[in-house]
Chain length 340, copies 4
């Protein structure tokens, strides 16, 4: 069965897997002190053109979000997020588990708007009783968002300016960062993005790795961050697992190459759906496509192609997500063509 | 200066204070095991017609909300609240501090609507990925609400039925419970309210005491609740302070008598504002009145009468709260009359 | 029945209660912004000769310990305490509830020894894997200790020097501070103590108040401390309750006067026990006396005098605590004399 | 350079890696619902002879300890551990981070003694003020311990009987479980161990996998455990990573085969050290050997062989850990022979 259910249906990109095999019997030190982890960090800093950054490799996205948010916030602070933000909906309360409120503001196809962000913060500080409220301490956005949309350079600049004006940090969840940067609609590069936030992560799990996200603190990491990783149970003894994979992903531009492939496949998907007269729930320029399906047709497709039910559209239609990834093939697109 | 700024501007009701003085040199055991605390609990159970209830006296409202919510929820659960609920806005994230998300649903003049509650819970369980989301484990409502409104018996019954259908507990924040029950619009009694929820508290701080809220678990309290009170730093060594006060408040119906007085004063306030042509932000039948003021007039009043700025109404007007309490006098109403 | 069971068996000192009565109908602002709270803070700063200190009034001891420790520690830090420290034994895990480990070191009659403290911290930093361990971030001591003992000026100086050498803060739990400072064996004054730590609290609950502890940050308080008090559920709406009491306690040296009375009563207690041939479990110069009792004798005393069972001594004897306080009278001592 | 620094110096066992390669392009569902995870769980239940067990695969040991302990304890409970237990020393306070105290009792070469456990719990319940203390809710032990020692069947039975008598759960940290079960001194089998506790985990990271620990709840898992895994940030999107590895480890008895190899290598190591006249710090029958080294000799070895400094022995000697694993070869032992 072919599947567009998500961007984590296959294992690792063959090149990544190959490096895991080749390095398997190397004798290495543990807990992220091995040579591959160090090399990966250097390559990432170079790719970000951010020589003073601090880079840490964490196993998964929710883990990373929880760690970054809880270690960067003060106890009296919460994190602002679009109402549709992953941390606000689909992480089982992982942020609240660490004692911090998610302060939700409106979502526009998954995105936050700088003006509304500013209004929110201004309203907070002008409230007479704001010392009895949760201080906004950070803005969380995802790039691309949970709806596949991306911020333009101008939008991100405006947002970051608001953050700096009110001295709150900006954290970009890049679980699918490659698929955002590789989008034809994207007018921003990795080094530019690194300059427009305080911390972000480069998603591996969904972009070619078996697991792993690379957190990049563009300035200083929270003090004793390694100890806090350990405290969260997130420090792998065999840090090599993340190290080797990211070292491979950032060798010969592999990360962006495979990201571009996923975008090419997504473009084919878009063309296919358009040809067949499907309507899109929204306009996504990245690897996740949200298509409105007749429920009867969905029934037909069951067991023949994998997809994700997103949300009901109306009584007879459903929003369905189709995702491509580095592993999507032309054959799969062709197969889907036959089924639609 | 007269003040309608809140219902906690004066100390204790004279009768309550008198009992503190009379019992001051009694030799008593600590940590809530004293005779007055036990007597207060018995009187409260009787007033609630709930002989099997478990009653605990806690010093303040936020403390109580935090304790009840965190001890009744499972780790994977959050608490549903109207977006305007005190726990969602003005408690500095006290619930999230304990690891639980506040799940906000729409507020209708401070109230939750049973239909929307049901829709929220149904949508949760029908979501394919709900195991990656925060389970609704409790509903929090306030009676009266933060906007002075109250639920009818039918509304509360409908809400509680939804809670029972989905096996979530219902917690009623009664910081101003007396002022709700004493309202002429209230069609519910204390024993009836006790039957329509799993836990509620009878506010003392705002209704005649120096401090203290009486939590009533209508069924079983969470196991080792006393230890959990201690763990939250909420167990007073001199439990007598809360005990004597609640014993006084529940002797000779004092609690309801002084609550009724506040409502009579509120009715006079309403008449006065109406006479003078003021508009109300919403219709509140209890001790908190939300009045729309011209900003110029507000400037005039500053320093002459105490009130609370609630929220901007438009560029030239502001919503202002005037609260009465057990301590409000006719003289204060007369004084205000001269100022309006 | 007379009682030496604890120093919180009676209500408030009459002078404190009188002020609560006199100020009861004053119209005051809430949440610790009232004039009495401000006045109390000023008087306390003066008594401590610490004009730049920041003072906050909290309702109880465990609440205070939890608040101070959790807001001053970084997430990766724990608090060092004598194994017998109140936070390590009798606070139901209130510190751990906030996410921090209590790092226990040996207790010498309730006290920490500076040399052992230094050894502990040195061993930590010389451990190869200390980044996988809990960093020592604060030292907690009690003055007097849970066993009634007190630190000499030299001992406290030595301890504070170790803290400064390793950049950890020193927090002194002064639940019974007055009874320590009033001891004839005490060679330290309140202003001196304030210079030898980063934060301490002046206990009210056990020294003349119905409730309340005054936290004194000798330097800066944690940022937005008021918001964090609220977040912990520890901010009283009627802050006047603590304010008026501490204002009274720090007027005309009342706090020290009543502390001295308790010490005089304790000295009479010591003489009495010595006369009757009782042995002391340890030498306490303050208001708590730990006496070794034959279990048969204890049975006889039951119901005639209040005391606290501390710990088994041997098969036939038990360590029993007798505590005096501001409320202990000569008559009670005489009554006890007849019973021994 | 050869290394005995730890049992996580190499990657995955070749057979495990081979399966990762073979299954890499399989299209699989996420979050632990894939066929390999399900198959692994079945094989593990069979190996444990525990058909009703619930099995979950988690990425690392600290993560697992934190998850199991925090989800099985009630808020008012702590976990008892030997003072030397990993959770008490080397996990950066991961348990306390979740709000629970580690209640430390004496360690005997890493082991807990049933009599002392019983004394501890009895003393707790007989303490008059135990409701102000942290309730013992679970016993944590490691098998083998941090010092390589193991419990006999009788010892474990005695310990479990105490746990059942006082209704606390028993959790066995099996980070190195294979190396314990494979020891010639071990008189207990996997199915027997499963019957003598409530939950344990089968360590993969140190026994042939790149990462992963298999938690086995011998009865019911905590409710909505999957949601709690997600909430802790511990749910891998590509659950296949753990699934395939454990499926391989529990095919054809691979887990025990490679464990036995490590023990054979350890026996050779013991013989070698004995031949050369080295003294052991303690008698370990498993893959970790603690040897007393002259500090000068250690300096000589630096850069030639990997080992772990454990703790100072005296001014001139140090306790050093040498660990074997599935990857240790005869050549390495020979090489070490030349160096000693």
């Amino acid at each position: 069965m072919i599947s567009f259910a998500s961007d984590y249906v296959a294992g690792a990109h063959p090149e990544v897997l190959k490096r895991l095999v080749e390095t398997n019997m190397d004798i290495l030190t543990g807990y992220g002190t091995d040579t591959y982890t160090l090399s990966a960090a250097e390559k990432i800093k170079k790719a970000c053109n951010c020589p003073d950054a601090e880079v840490f490799l964490i196993s998964g996205g929710t883990q990373t979000n929880q760690l970054v948010i809880s270690t960067m916030l003060q106890p009296y602070e919460g994190v602002i997020s679009a109402s549709t933000g992953h941390i606000n909906v689909h992480e089982a309360g992982a942020v609240e588990y660490t004692g911090h409120k998610v302060l939700s503001i409106p979502s526009h196809d998954g995105k936050v708007v700088s003006g509304e962000l500013k209004d929110y913060i201004k309203a907070f500080y002008s409230d007479e009783s704001h010392t009895h409220m949760v201080f906004p301490g950070m803005l969380y956005i995802s790039f691309p968002t949970e709806y596949g949309t991306i911020y333009s350079k101008q939008e991100l600049t405006d947002i970051y300016n608001v953050c700096r004006e009110y001295d709150i940090s900006l954290f970009i969840d890049g679980a699918r960062l490659g698929y955002g940067l590789a989008s034809k609609k994207c007018d921003i590069t990795l080094p530019e993005l690194a300059k427009l936030c305080d911390v972000f992560y480069i998603g591996g799990t969904k972009v070619g790795a078996l697991c792993g996200e690379a957190v990049v603190f563009t300035g200083k990491a929270p003090k004793h961050f390694e100890t806090q990783i350990k405290q969260h149970g997130a420090l792998l003894a065999k840090g090599r697992l993340n190290g080797v994979q990211f070292d491979a992903l950032f060798t010969d531009d592999l990360y962006m190459k495979i990201s571009k492939h996923a975008i090419e496949m997504a473009d084919k998907l878009i063309s296919l759906f358009r040809e067949r007269g499907y309507e899109f729930f929204l306009d996504s320029p990245t690897n996740q496509q949200f298509v409105i399906f007749n429920n009867k047709k969905l029934k037909d497709l069951e067991g023949k192609v994998g997809f994700s039910l997103w949300e009901p559209y109306d009584g007879e239609h459903t929003v369905v997500r189709f995702a491509t990834s580095w592993s999507t093939t032309d054959d799969e697109i062709e197969e889907l063509k036959k089924l639609l």
